[in-house]
């Protein structure tokens, strides 16, 4: 069976026509997409032309060791109609949280999609994969996440790792990582993987990446951590409206001082904006209402690897990030100093012995 023979997998244009969505409405959607993808604003018409001709790809969405926050982010976004047009752009053939089917029927729909669209479907993964003890800490239909991922990855055209857990291991991977949680890219090495990190990721980024794939037939340009540059190319700090205050050296020192009330930079209160790559400062949250810094709290750095283990959320980036390592250094220095004192004392003891002088405890403690 190929995609032409499968109902529901025609072109996006056909789907839109069936639903009575006008080209003008679609042009509006594409304007929003072009804005999101940081493409020149005038490219909306070209995007619309390409998208209406594109085939709706089969998408298999696997949820592993996660909190469902990523799915919540997408489905409970404040812009239901436009962002949910993502569901018109794709054929979501398996998503165990959203689909009506359950039990054997649900697993069969996954198997059918994998078989019918082998080599063509997109695999979306949220959640990390536990590796300890044979992966028993997270199973679906009696199979480990590792087993399901390896099977589904074989026929995938590309894999989209949604959320910091799937992209970098996330909170399950934080110390002491009892389940041995790892990222998708730690397991799958022979497929293109795009990381949409964030805890949760910005919902429209997922839509934007899919729109890019459908428009250009390829994944967008990625950074060195596998994230799309159009969304993760700059730091929160680079795009922050409080950046001019950083440049002027105006910092809030506490959360309720004059600086905080004046909206000054939150760097000294632990903001991780300078080292965090994401689009929150411009895309914002809750229907474009604001983002954490605009609400008076520093960025936690949730779209970066190991953000949970990167020191206190309230320590400035200029402070040592890992006190434990510093502690080790200090201990090494302490041992070295102890050895030196011990040698010195032994020399003194030897000298006293040869001179028949009495050695006191105080001498040894020097």
């Amino acid at each position: 069976m190929n995609e032409h023979e499968t109902p529901g997998h025609g072109t996006l244009g056909e789907r839109l026509a069936q639903q009575g969505i006008s080209r003008r409405a679609f042009l509006k959607f594409c304007t929003a997409m072009a804005s999101l993808m940081a493409l020149p604003p005038g490219t909306a018409t070209a995007i619309a032309e390409a998208l209406v001709k594109s085939k709706r790809p089969s998408v298999i969405w696997l949820s592993f060791q996660e909190c469902t926050g990523c799915t919540e982010s997408l489905t409970r976004s404040d812009t239901p109609t436009l962002e949910n047009m993502i569901f018109d752009m794709i054929s979501l053939d398996y998503h165990h949280t959203l689909q009506a089917a359950s039990g054997y029927g649900a697993e069969k729909s996954r198997e059918d999609a994998m078989q019918n669209f082998f080599g063509k479907y997109l695999l979306v993964v949220d959640g990390s994969i536990p590796m300890h003890d044979g992966g028993v800490y997270s199973t679906i239909a009696g199979r480990t996440n590792l087993d399901l991922l390896q099977e589904a990855a074989k026929g995938a055209a590309a894999i989209i790792a949604v959320g910091t857990c799937a992209a970098f291991g996330g909170i399950p991977n934080a110390k002491p990582n009892p389940t041995g949680a790892v990222a998708v890219s730690d397991i799958i090495k022979d497929k293109p993987i795009i990381n949409i990190s964030g805890c949760p990721p910005i919902p429209v980024v997922i839509t934007g990446v899919l729109a890019h794939y459908l428009t250009f037939g390829a994944l967008p340009e990625l950074d060195d951590l596998g994230r799309p540059k159009s969304f993760y190319g700059e730091t929160i700090h680079d795009r922050c409206y409080r950046r001019p205050f950083y440049d002027q050296g105006k910092f809030a020192k506490t959360f309720d001082d004059e600086g905080a009330r004046n909206g000054w930079c939150l760097f000294e209160l632990g903001c991780k904006g300078p080292t965090t790559h994401n689009a929150c400062a411009t895309t914002k949250w809750n229907g474009g209402t604001s983002f954490p810094i605009e609400s008076g709290h520093g960025c936690l750095g949730c779209s970066e690897p190991h953000f949970w283990d990167a020191g206190s959320f309230y320590s400035a980036l200029s402070m040592p990030a890992s006190p434990l390592e510093l502690g080790t250094d200090a201990a090494v220095a302490g041992v070295a100093a102890g050895i030196a004192v011990s040698i010195a004392n032994r020399v003194k003891k030897g000298a006293a012995k040869s001179a028949h002088e009495k050695t006191t405890i105080a001498d040894l403690e020097k």
Binding site: K28, P41, T81, L82, G287
Partner: protein
């Protein structure tokens, strides 16, 4: 839009004056608009500025609204939520805001052009409309024949 719905846009925002709070983004933006407008006048080249991609400080958006203000022309489109198109008091500078059905902004553009693309009827929609009109005429003709 239902004004009584629980919507973030219902929370009133008061613009602060430039003297009390400004990081200087508006002046830079106005300068960019002037450059685009100059290109339109001299070469006919159109321009667009995506306001969603700019890190504006709280209050600056409202300042920009006040500065550009509304000109002679305004239009409203209903297509998966409303869209507002207004020509600012500077002819050729259009403020195009697309909302979703809940009234949240999904795209916010300044277009420097003689007429924004979204206002024009799209060729595909025109063809669909023509088919509908012909179908309606055919139906009417059939009904007339049936009555005769």
């Amino acid at each position: 839009m239902n004004p009584t719905s629980n919507n973030f846009k219902n929370i009133p925002i008061y613009a602060q004056t430039e003297e009390t709070y400004s990081v200087g983004n508006i002046r830079a933006l106005l300068s960019e608009i002037a450059t685009c407008l100059e290109k339109l006048v001299k070469t006919g080249e159109t321009g667009m500025i995506d306001l969603n991609s700019l890190p504006l400080a709280p209050g600056e958006y409202e300042q920009l609204r006040q500065t550009l203000a509304q000109g002679e022309f305004s239009a409203r489109i209903e297509a998966i939520g409303p869209s507002e198109i207004i020509e600012t008091r500077y002819p050729g500078v259009w403020w195009v805001t697309h909302y979703n059905v809940e009234g949240d902004i999904v795209a916010d553009m300044l277009e420097i052009t003689s007429l924004p693309e979204i206002i024009k009827s799209q060729p595909e929609d025109i063809r669909t409309g023509l088919e509908l009109l012909r179908a309606q005429l055919d139906d009417a003709q059939l009904n007339e024949r049936a009555q005769q």
